[in-house]
């Protein structure tokens, strides 16, 4: 309870005590802590286990680069695996558990892997587990998979919600350290619309972790004051807790804002917001990440990055140790010794790999210049370090600094390679940057505070100027340039024990060397072979060191050895955030027909038809099986009259002097001579000659047509027609507009359909067969003046009409038809009965128009006019599409009429094996025909038209069925078409 490692100072709110649990044990920390800071304040050193060897691990860093301190946060459906303790804001009631151990964190049974490590060297699994063959899937792989992963998912639906948003700005500043604040200030003061985003909840970046001064105040104080000024500028949007995770084309950046992750509960508010930021200019001020040095057992809990150690001390007032040693290859490591010492923490030693005079004296500390740490004692926490010259120093924390790597990640997202800078022994952004992006400060290799402020100010000024703003004053804030000399020192050669590079994936110096010896020398081969850099931290602290060791092993320089680029996201992003609100029922919009409410009242069963929801059938009391409802709907329609909402069909209004000629080109059959007041069936081909869509088109006047398309192809057909209009025949006077949503359309079918319509259509219209014959169309008024259109077309094969009214009258029309139809025992039918009737009639529909079939296959080859230019006519003439033994659409009935049929069955001749060689076609659509009393089917079969009467086998091995079927005409009902002309 007492936070024994809490010291004075820092930016935590000591008045706000926060309690939390780690592995069930209760702890306390302060508002402003991260989980890692609070664990450090409480002296909890062991926090997790590594991936492969299950080595005990402690907190390694103080930021998003953390490879070790991964916890499972929260519980139940809110369980959040692989969460970095170092960026998790502490809140009251926080619950975290460690992960990747069998048994307790302290006594992990899987730690036996560590003893077996010689057998588990880089890529060992590629060389074994091959014999006996069957053991891979039965024994080896299950064992490997059992040890996969770190944390676990709850297996339950994510209970939180996520939002998405769009932002626009002149200047996006990524990172709010000294460079970022200076950039935002310069651009903001000039009046540019600025967004300043930082992954941290406190703006200021390293300024909050250092004891450096800006102007005449503390760095943290200057950061707070600057943030306050920026917050007061109306043109600046401050976005803390926001990670800009990716750089995309044309100045678009992806960002994730964490809205409730720092609270005990989201309380129904969105947990996170995924922003897409459209920027004219962007300035990357992402700072730098410290890198470790590899030496024996450098993965022990208590071995930490030096800059992180002083961050915990300076920002959080929590010390990772009471007796701290520093091992550094550069000047910056000394700051840790000096800052800690100033806070009264004992520095046991400063070991500097460089042979040069000591930079400073540190009270009580042994100073070892040209020194090396070769080993670390203390399995679950550092107890002592051993130096190359044999000296052992007791210490409980080792702060390591191998220099700083600029955070170039976002500059690589468009595949630009970073370039090497010898003087800082690090990669800096490459020359080909995403358009509009500049880099300032440590991310650009300007590692000192003074330089970062200058670069930030300049970048902000230039970005403001580039976006049309003028700055009044651009004096950068002043700060000292602290010493940053760095040696390129990567690992301690004298170490005998294993030395870690990638802490999470357990990749050691030896693994990298072995990969080199085995020929995996390309950086990408190295990564893939050893798994280096593939863990949740994506190698932020590991990659450059490994590259250096490979360079050394192959006798090349680091830039010669290569570099690896970073891919988005900068830090991992919850999949739920990318999905936003588009999940569950809201995954995609639902389109409802005008009669939907009425159908609901009838207790219709609905079915998805693309985005549309359509009534599938209308069950009545006593009906226990869907077939009963469907059979009734079919029989009643054919006996009297039925109605069906067909609004979902695509409707395209075609107008203009050249409208007829235009249709003549987009349809395979002729349309130029269609008389006014008539409808014609049209077959549309793709340019490759395949059937694309079909439907009817009505001519309402010389210059006005209304086309219908299938429900599925409505959008695609319209797009295609606009292509034809704008790109192929731009000189035609024709205009298109989609009116699918504007018109409700209802089919009225059956021998009593005319009688029913006569009760609805106003008396002035003559609907007699003579006045309004099959394929007639016209504008009408209904129900006493409602404007509408009437088409005498039939999908069912019956005397039938389709009546269209403005969509707002759709519901009323359906109700009026049902009311008026009572006298004829009218029935509402759904898509299922619609489908049965069209199979009975032999019409092709979605299962036949699959983009793989031609007009000829569909039995409509003769419709393709060769006397005119139309889309698809030339390529439909290709040889393979006109073979003698080509497919043809025909009907099928089971020889034993009591048998059912299955769509998807393939046809083979009797006696033939069911193999690819003997495949003659397939069944496309089947139905039980209540009119005929047995099952019927449509299907494509080779030479079908000439095989009427022949018997073949419909083989359906996936359902283990074989049915003898007879090939028949596809027109099962009224083949002469007498009913629809009645």
């Amino acid at each position: 309870m007492s936070q024994p490692y809490r010291i004075v100072g820092g930016l935590v709110g000591r008045e706000n005590l926060v309690s939390f649990r780690f592995n069930g044990k209760r702890f306390q920390g302060y508002r402003g802590d991260t989980l890692a800071a609070a664990l450090i304040a409480n002296g909890q050193r062991l926090v997790g286990r590594s991936f492969k060897y299950h080595r005990p691990r402690g907190i390694f860093s103080a930021g998003s680069e953390e490879p070790n301190a991964m916890v499972q946060l929260r519980h139940g459906a809110h369980l959040e695996p692989n969460t970095r303790a170092t960026v998790t804001e502490l809140y009251n009631g926080l619950e975290a558990t460690s992960q990747n151990h069998r048994g307790s964190l302290e006594f992990d049974l899987m730690a036996v892997n560590d003893l077996l490590s010689p057998f588990l060297s880089a890529g060992f699994y590629y060389k074994t587990f091959m014999w006996p063959k069957s053991f891979w899937e039965k024994v080896y792989e299950p064992a490997i998979r059992a040890s996969a992963g770190l944390g676990r998912l709850s297996g339950e639906e994510d209970p939180d919600s996520y939002d998405k948003g769009f932002l626009h700005c002149d200047v996006l500043v990524i990172g709010s350290g000294p460079a970022g604040l200076a950039a935002a200030l310069a651009a903001g003061r000039a009046g540019a619309r600025v967004i300043l985003a930082d992954e941290d909840f406190l703006l200021g970046g390293r300024l909050n972790a250092e004891t450096l001064a800006v102007e005449d105040m503390s760095g943290a104080g200057w950061a707070a004051q600057t943030a306050q000024e920026l917050a007061g500028l109306p043109n600046v949007r401050m976005m803390p807790r926001t990670t800009v995770y990716g750089a995309y084309d044309h100045g678009i950046y992806g960002a994730l804002e964490r809205r409730t992750d720092h609270l005990a509960t989201s309380a129904g508010k969105p947990r996170q917001v995924l922003w897409r930021i459209y920027s004219k200019r962007a300035i990357l001020c992402a700072g730098a990440t410290e890198r470790p040095i590899a030496f024996g057992n450098n993965d022990r809990p208590g071995v930490m990055l030096a800059g992180s150690v002083r961050a915990y001390v300076n920002r959080w007032g929590a010390t990772p140790g009471r007796r701290v040693a520093v091992f550094t290859s550069n000047d910056d490591g000394w700051r840790t010794a000096q800052d800690l010492s100033a806070k009264g923490i004992e520095i046991t030693a400063v070991i500097d790999s460089r042979d040069k005079p000591a930079l400073a004296s540190v009270p009580g500390a042994a100073i070892v210049m040209g020194g090396r740490v070769i080993d670390v004692a203390g399995r679950k926490g550092v107890t002592a370090i051993k130096l190359a010259k044999g000296q052992t120093i007791e210490t409980d924390c080792l702060a390591v600094s191998g220099g700083w790597n600029p955070n170039v990640h976002l500059t690589c997202h468009q595949r630009s390679f970073p370039k090497w800078r010898d003087d800082i022994a690090a990669f800096i952004p490459g020359d080909e940057m995403p358009v509009g992006l500049t880099v300032a400060g440590a991310a650009n290799g300007a590692l000192s505070l003074g330089a970062a402020l200058i670069q930030g100010t300049e970048a902000g000024h230039i970005a403001a100027t580039d976006t049309g703003h003028t700055a009044t004053s651009i004096t950068p804030p002043w700060a000292e340039d602290e010493p940053r000399d760095t040696a390129a020192f990567w690992h301690v050669g004298e170490s005998k024990a294993r030395a870690w590079l990638d802490l999470q994936n357990d990749v050691t110096v030896k693994d990298v060397r072995q990969a080199g010896e085995e020929g995996f020398r390309s950086v990408e081969h190295l990564k893939r072979y050893t798994t280096l850099g593939m863990a949740t931290d994506q190698g932020k602290t590991a990659n450059v060191g490994a590259l250096a060791i490979m360079a050394e092993a192959t006798g090349k320089s680091i830039p010669e050895t290569g570099t690896t680029i970073f891919r988005p996201p900068y830090t991992p992003v919850a999949i739920g955030a990318f999905a936003g609100r588009s999940r569950g029922k809201a995954f995609r919009p639902t389109r409802l027909t005008p009669s939907h409410k009425w159908a609901e009242e009838q207790k219709a069963v609905f079915v998805d038809a693309g985005m549309w929801l359509r009534a599938q059938w209308f069950p009545r009391a006593g009906e226990t099986h869907w077939r009963q409802s469907v059979d009734r709907e079919v029989l009643q329609t054919r006996a009297s009259v039925g109605v069906c909402d067909v609004t979902t069909l695509g409707k395209i209004d075609v107008q203009g002097r050249d409208a007829a000629e235009f249709l003549n080109r987009v349809y395979a059959n002729g349309f130029a001579k269609l008389p006014v007041g008539k409808v014609r069936y049209g077959l549309m081909l793709r340019e490759d000659g395949m059937a694309m869509d079909d439907g009817t088109t009505a001519r309402l006047s010389e210059t006005h047509f209304v086309m219908t398309t299938t429900t599925a192809n409505a959008v695609g057909v319209f797009r295609h027609m606009e292509f034809c209009r704008q790109c192929l025949w731009p000189g035609m006077d024709v205009h298109l507009i989609s009116v699918t949503e504007q018109w409700a359309q209802i089919a009225v079918a059956g021998p009593n359909s005319r009688a029913l319509l006569q009760k609805i259509v106003d008396d002035s219209h003559d609907l007699s067969n003579e006045a309004f014959p099959f394929m007639a169309c016209g504008e009408v008024t209904l129900c006493g003046g409602v404007p509408g259109r009437l088409f005498r077309i039939s999908f069912s094969g019956e005397l039938a009409y389709e009546v269209a009214v403005p969509a707002r009258y759709g519901d009323a029309l359906m109700r009026a038809l049902m009311k008026a139809g009572e006298a004829y025992d009218v029935v509402a039918y759904g898509t299922e009965a619609l489908g049965v009737m069209r199979v009975e009639k032999g019409h092709a529909a979605g299962n036949e128009l699959i983009g793989q079939t031609t007009a000829r296959d569909l039995g409509m080859g003769r419709m393709v006019s060769k006397k005119k230019d139309s889309i698809g006519s030339i390529l439909s003439e290709r040889d393979a599409l006109n073979r003698e033994d080509g497919l043809a659409l025909v009907g099928f009935v089971p020889v034993d009429r009591s048998e059912g049929l299955n769509s998807g069955a393939h046809f083979v001749s009797p006696g033939k094996e069911v193999t690819t060689e003997n495949d003659e076609g397939w069944m496309t659509s089947v139905a039980f025909s209540p009119s005929l009393g047995h099952s019927i089917g449509l299907g494509f079969i080779k030479r079908g038209a000439s095989r009427i009467g022949e018997t073949v086998i419909a083989a359906d091995p996936v359902r283990d069925r074989k049915v003898e079927v007879e090939i028949v005409s596809p027109h099962f009902i009224d083949p002469e078409g007498e009913r629809l002309r009645a």
Binding site: M130, G246, S522, E524, R567, A574, R583, A905
Partner: protein
Amino acid sequence: MKYSGWKVLRQALGGNKGWEPVWRDPAPKPAYDIIVVGGGGHGLATAYYLAKEYGLTNVAVLEKSWLASGNAGRNTTIIRSNYLLPGNEPFYELSMKLWENLEQDFNYNAMVSQRGVVNLYHSDPQRDAFARRGNAMHMAGADAVLLDEQGIRELCPFLDFDNARFPVKGGLWQPRGGTARHDAVAWGYARGADQRGVDLIQNCEVTGFQVKNGRCIGVETARGPIAAKKVAVCVAGSSGRVMAQAGLRLPIESHVLQAFVSEGLKPIIPGVVTFGAGHFYISQSDKGGLVFGGDIDGYNTYAQRGNLPVVEDVCESGMALMPMIGRARLLRMWGGVMDMSMDGSPFIDKTSVDGLYFNGGWCYGGFKATPASGWCYAHLLAKDEPHPVATELRLDRFKRGHMIDEKGAGAQPNLH
């Protein structure tokens, strides 16, 4: 060096100091019998089978970067043979049979894992199409099981069955489908080819073809000219720009397909699951990462990176199908350049230039085809006639009207 558990033990006891390079790093010779252009999975498999099946070892594989640096090393590792059309299915089933014996054949553990591939359906027409396809698979000797909703509930209980916009009605399951460790496949072929004498030459970009009297007699490379009796191009996403050097236009466009992997998680997804009402497929690697993908970005590109709309679309589909992955974090996204053909099916064929051969048009399905592609390309190169299962994979099929269009999407590559 033959790999085995015994060898791993022996090496471990010797401090892992005796491992030999997996492949040599030879300088190019002035001439070869056959040059394979492209050191990806298909090129390496071709070289391996040329050496192993036909004894042709005076062969070089020229790779512009590092071996398997293209799509072989950036795919979602799925293997399956669940195709519909007779021009495709026997070819992919041959591939599946080669996968099943691959590791013993090339003495490298590529972690071929037949945990099953299930394609979900959400409507009756989709079910009918899957039945047709499943039957075609059976007829070609493959395995396929048509599952109803209950079957899917048992196989994948973690899907959203009760609150879905497009409820799952069933699926077509291929139990023999699964995944393989993509890099290891390429490395296994590379090592096997190298051991048999094939020269694998990295950082050796082909910059032109030497054509004399209508016959290809070699290539120009970044490391000088190299003569060859036959030149076999096998460069996937780079097909357009490489074949343009020989003056050939192809029925191919280059598009980017993005892929995604999550942080490592304890096993939760058994096999490969494919959504039928959106663009999403997923599996879980042996390391624990959820490996998933969706649709191509849709515009022509040679850049190995994509944009956000597709990222969001894929994750939306994932969340619609299995909302338990919401709190899993997406760790890394990347793009590969796909050689999208005009009917969605590939080519393994001679070209109009004598001695110049072409293998490409794999769209986003090239990985699963790797063994059969190498097998059939080697057959074509060695015998100058197509392998019986690859007879339809010809470049002139569009001229003849013999498309192999599984989706029926027509001559628009981004729809396949």
